[in-house]
Amino acid sequence: MVNAMAPPTDDDLIDVMTRMVAARVFSSRLFNLQRQGRVGTMAPIDGNEAAVVGAASALDPATDWIFPQYREPVALGRFGDGVIDTHTLYLLGHPAGGRYPDDVNVFPTQISLAAQVPHAVGFAWGLHLRGEPGVAAVFFGDGASSEGDFYEAANLAGVLRAPVIFLLVNNHWAISTPVSRQTAAASFADKAVAAGFPGVQVDGRDPIAVREVVAAARARAVAGEGPTLVELVTYRLGPHTTADDPTRYVPAEELSAEQARDPLATFGARLRELGLWSDEIDTRVRAEALARMDLAVDRAEATDLGPDAFFDHVFVEPSQRQQRQRDEVLADGGARADGSKGSTWR
């Protein structure tokens, strides 16, 4: 791979580490809020920080677009400070959680596995047709890679030479399903062979290695040379989601070996060696992240929501029947489902 990007400056390294720490802090806080019943089911990022932050650091937030699965948004701050606000709304179950700020090039969170992959390819195709400069970068998991959507989209991207980067986060698990039951392929990167473009495996625990590989993929895409599949190899250090109990299926020794390779710890140690990170910095960054997270929660909880909001964006002009239904909802005022439970939040 050519060196498509200048080597990271000290500031770059600090920025990457800062975002990784923030991602972990956001995620842990949201995890706890779920435990308190204040937000819905969430998927902690532990173990994926370097992969996501490293990849995002190679992209240009002004021209490039990110198509996330569900685990990445806490780590996408580089694409806009407001990302965490939107993501918090999403976890609250607020419809505004699907709309990142208009200047943030991030597609809504996708929960239907791999469904975002064809979107990214279509979007990249559209950028090309409109003569716009960016690329589309799409995150999806080792599990999601088994869906037809991934293969169909990759195959199309190959034919079109679309400016898209496939960011396959191999964290070794899809809920309880290990990669050994997910595929017999020698690597996930190898799946690119089926679509006729390069596939590269990179240590997803090393954000700078990720950054380089993704930068090279971006350079290819921008040069009109087509897509690249990047397999970001890491390990899921937490439960799948707040609803999951990984002790049922994750071998304890495997997990503890992986914990020793926690990207936050290993990259942190590297920066400390370089004199770029310290306990003080760490404490400050964590405190700032926590404050930002609290702000996001406050903002989210204060965000208005009409009782009839679900009619707002189905069609531009509601149908006659929708209009009547809306009137019924409004007339009804505050009828609750079966009276047995209120909102999850609070």
């Binding site: 195709w125 047709l129 959507d149 169909e152 149908s319 006659q320």
Partner: protein
């Protein structure tokens, strides 16, 4: 002109009108589509705007979502409606939710054209009428022209519409339905049914090619001295509630005709709506004429599956035999 020509002409007009319109699907380019609906478009508008896709319906609709978000106006073709099942996750889970999921950030001006319906001896899955299943997918407009003129006008409306539209073209009608299509900028609004034939005794409510079969049944009955109206719903979503109530209110008797299997078909929705809108106008229980509760059959059996002039006429007589 034929419905097929009307569709072809409208596609060309809309591509000329709006350069964001892009047509893609299987065999739509050099081949002009397996029915020639896209004939000549690639030669006229170029390889970037008329595109043959790899053989995968999922990514045809999946890519539409991205194209739309990037500012294009996708007009996708599914070669036969039965194969939209391969893309159901993208249609029902994604295309129809782009605006909703993004809380209004992204428009989804996506038109999906697809031929369907029986009567031409296709292999299986080519003739299935899935509009009832698809009309339950919130966020999807379901449009089914029954004439060349409506095909042109509704397709223009579909392509210009900011929401996802499933535009269903009756296989049997492509070359057999012929009528005059207005020149110039001809559009037909969604949600306004069409009175195909006036009648005072009973009204047949239907859509797509069944409009033609029902019209013939009405003619047969006219010879028996019965006055039978025929109403073409044109769009199932949005549904013309007021128009439907007025049409049924006028006769007090209604026969609903569709090609799909009875159970769970859209005919049930129409009867339920009629009952909700004008129960007290009814002089007899509404009757449904539909396909049977079996998968669309092989060629030798289809004439006994698709509602026929005889079955529709018999249903009208039955409804008329009921004392008010």
């Amino acid at each position: 002109m034929t419905m097929l020509d009307a569709i072809n002409r409208t596609l060309a007009q809309e591509m000329a009108r709006d350069e964001r319109v892009i047509v893609f699907g299987q065999d739509v380019a050099a081949n002009g589509g397996v029915f020639r609906a896209t004939e000549g478009l690639q030669a006229r508008f170029g390889v970037d705007r008329v595109v043959d896709m790899p053989l995968a319906e999922g990514v045809i609709l999946g890519a539409s979502v991205g194209l739309a978000a990037a500012g294009m106006v996708p007009v996708a073709e599914i070669q036969f409606l039965g194969f939209v099942y391969q893309a159901m996750h993208q249609l029902a889970g994604q295309v129809t939710r782009l605006r909703y999921r993004s809380n209004g950030r992204f428009d989804a001006p996506i038109t999906i054209r697809s031929p369907f319906g029986g009567g031409v001896r296709t292999p299986e899955l080519h003739s299935d009428s899935l509009e009832g299943q698809l009309a339950n997918v919130a966020g999807l407009k379901v449009v089914l022209p029954s004439s060349a003129s409506d095909a042109a006008g509704l397709l223009a409306t579909a392509i210009r519409d900011p929401d996802p539209v499933l535009f269903l073209e009756p296989l049997r009608g492509y070359r057999t339905l012929r009528d005059e299509v207005p020149d110039g900028d001809h559009t037909v609004p969604f949600g306004q049914l069409r009175h195909v034939r006036d009648g005072d005794d009973v009204v047949i409510v239907t859509w797509s090619y069944m409009v033609e079969v029902s019209r013939r049944a009405a003619e047969v009955l006219a010879e028996e001295g019965l006055s039978v109206g025929v109403v073409d719903l044109r769009t199932l979503v949005p549904l013309d509630l007021a128009g439907l109530a007025a049409a049924v209110g006028h006769t007090g008797r209604v026969v609903v005709v569709e090609e799909a299997a009875q159970t769970g078909g859209f005919g049930g929705e129409i009867v339920a709506t009629v009952v909700e809108e004008c129960f007290y106008d009814l002089e007899a229980p509404p009757v449904r004429v539909s396909g049977w509760d079996v998968p669309y059959p092989v060629g030798l059996l289809e004439d006994r599956y698709v509602p026929s002039v005889e079955r529709i006429a018999a249903a009208c007589r039955r409804v008329l035999a009921v004392a008010p």
